[in-house]
Amino acid sequence: MKLHDIAHARTGDKGDISNISVIAYDPAHWPLIRDMVTAERVAAHFETFDARDISRYEIPQLQALNFVIRGALAGGVTRSLALDAHGKCLASVLLEMQVCSSK
């Protein structure tokens, strides 16, 4: 299944850094999300980021993860050529991640 089925997410930006949260709808899915949504898998999912540029924070009582991705925004909102220069859509891209290949 897709991460979108069990989690919601929000993107913010500061300069050239993207901040993406991932939050379980149901606390029962927290262990799966915690174990499957690693910095390495996030980097692989986006294809262009290096896991070394990703910091990952766990907030277990909220069943939430927070990802900070440096160099993610082509120079940042003020000079990026991207249509979505803030990277507001990146959380939705991340929710496309497959988290359980058996289903």
């Binding site: 919601h8 907030i59 000079r79």
Partner: protein, 447 residues
């Protein structure tokens, strides 16, 4: 005062005004707070001020003040805002003029200044360029420190009804009234951290009441069209309930609060602020009633003594063109259009710094997509950053040229250029930045 009621009037420069009026009229607020400055807004405002010394503040300031001042005066609600942007004194003057026009005499309006550090930033190295700001030469437009609560609290203690600043850290706009009203010590890191948490939750206005949240079928938001702005009921220890006015649309839930708490904070245990390092790592949210969420567990540690400084500088010209293709084979025709523009630009222009072509509807948001869904239409977009305006103009012109000399069935060309105003950042010791305020009543004419 046992419970302080803070409302969010705006979460960005272009925010909707009607929810702020509703809060002013029905919110029984102690403070109505407008956060209106994005990272680049103040650099744009500095350019406006350079062109006209009476400008450089938020273009919606007059409309917002006209809309909320009558109710705020009637209800004893004070206003704190960063709508001063690059010119807080002119913003205060305009606010006094609006008050006079509305017949509101005796309104005390304060302008807080000191965030402008363009004269001090030269030796500081920018994170983005790795070089001192002075090397930008005449490309340097602005430099503003994210100030904390000092000037804001001083203005409130002097009795200001409206406090207008430029660049301040967004949550500081909310922390200042809490410190002023509750008398929190400036080294009470726990309460300061909680005040920052309240401010951070409210500073984006509707983003905690159901805006930037709806995902139909999964995250539904009732009556989003009439979404209300949030308010917080804060006690003297800094614990709070986040809610919104009865009868407004949207929703306040554990989920909306978690999304907003993590928004743009980076390390949840170290949210760097001018007056405290806020720690949200142990925060919890509990739904205690309809659209009522209790917030607990915030704390903080000693401030770093360093202030973030945003530096605005001119960085070339941006040019763009777009054209639509529809029906069978539209993706292939869009891709052909991209390659034609790229080839023609390579023959004519050497002034392009970086460029990209993409198909909106296929890969404009995320170029690495592997989805190849059949699509009814695509919009080809070509964008470039160039050394000069003429080269930037050529981007849209080559897209327009596709009408007669491109793939079949291209329509609806748009093109634009603008100067690129980039933002860099650096850190400056807080002792280099002195804030102050000046206050006048609305009964005084402009000097």
């Amino acid at each position: 005062m046992s419970i302080l009621r803070l409302g969010a009037g705006a979460g960005f420069q272009g925010d909707r005004i009607a929810p702020a009026v509703d809060l002013a009229e029905r919110g029984k607020l102690d403070y109505l707070i407008f956060e209106c400055l994005g990272e680049r807004t103040i650099a744009l405002a500095q350019q406006a001020r350079s062109a006209d010394p009476t400008k450089g503040y938020d273009p919606l300031l007059e409309r917002r003040m006209r809309a909320v001042l009558p109710a705020c005066v009637r209800n004893g609600t004070r206003i704190v805002t960063n709508m001063g942007a690059a010119n807080p004194r002119a913003a205060a003057e305009k606010t006094r003029a609006v008050a006079r026009e509305l017949g509101l005499t005796g309104l005390k309006v304060a302008a807080v200044t000191g965030d402008d550090v363009v004269d001090k930033v030269g030796d500081f190295v920018l994170d983005e360029t790795g070089k001192p700001a002075s090397e930008l030469g005449d490309r340097l437009v602005s430099a503003n420190a994210y100030i904390g609560i000092d000037g804001l609290v001083a203005a409130l203690e002097a009795g200001a009804d409206v406090v207008i600043c430029g660049r301040a850290s967004d949550p500081s706009l909310f922390l200042a009234p809490l410190v002023h009203e509750f008398g929190w010590a400036r080294d009470d890191w726990t309460r300061l951290g909680r005040g920052i948490l309240v401010g951070h939750l409210l500073e984006c206005a509707a983003q905690i009441t159901g805006g930037y949240f709806a995902d139909p079928g999964l995250k539904d938001v009732p009556d989003l069209a009439n979404v209300g702005h949030p308010l917080a009921e804060v006690d003297s220890d800094g614990n709070a309930v986040i809610t919104k006015l009865e009868g407004t649309g949207g929703r306040v839930s554990r989920a909306t609060c978690i999304e907003q708490m993590l928004y743009e904070i980076h390390d949840p245990a170290r949210y760097l602020q001018p007056d405290v390092v806020a720690d949200f790592l142990k925060v919890n949210f509990e739904e205690i009633g309809p659209d009522r969420v209790a917030v607990t567990g915030g704390t903080g540690t000693k401030a770093t003594g360093l202030l973030k400084v945003s530096v605005g500088y001119r960085d070339g010209w941006f040019g763009e063109g777009q054209i639509s293709y529809a029906g069978a084979n539209c993706v292939a025709r869009g891709n052909l259009a991209i390659s034609l523009v790229r080839e023609r630009l390579a023959q004519t222009s050497g002034a392009i710094i970086e460029h990209r072509g993409e198909l909106i509807g296929v890969n404009s948001v995320w170029p690495y997509t592997h989805q190849t869904a059949n699509t009814a239409e695509v919009r080809m977009r070509y964008a470039a950053r160039c050394h000069d305006a003429i080269s930037a103009q050529a981007i849209g012109e080559e897209v327009e040229g596709l009408y007669l000399a491109g793939p079949a069935g291209g329509g609806g060309v748009t093109k634009s250029i603008r100067e690129v105003l980039a933002i860099g950042s650096t850190l400056m010791p807080a002792y280099n930045v002195a804030t102050t305020f000046e206050m006048k009543g609305s009964s005084h004419e402009a000097a």
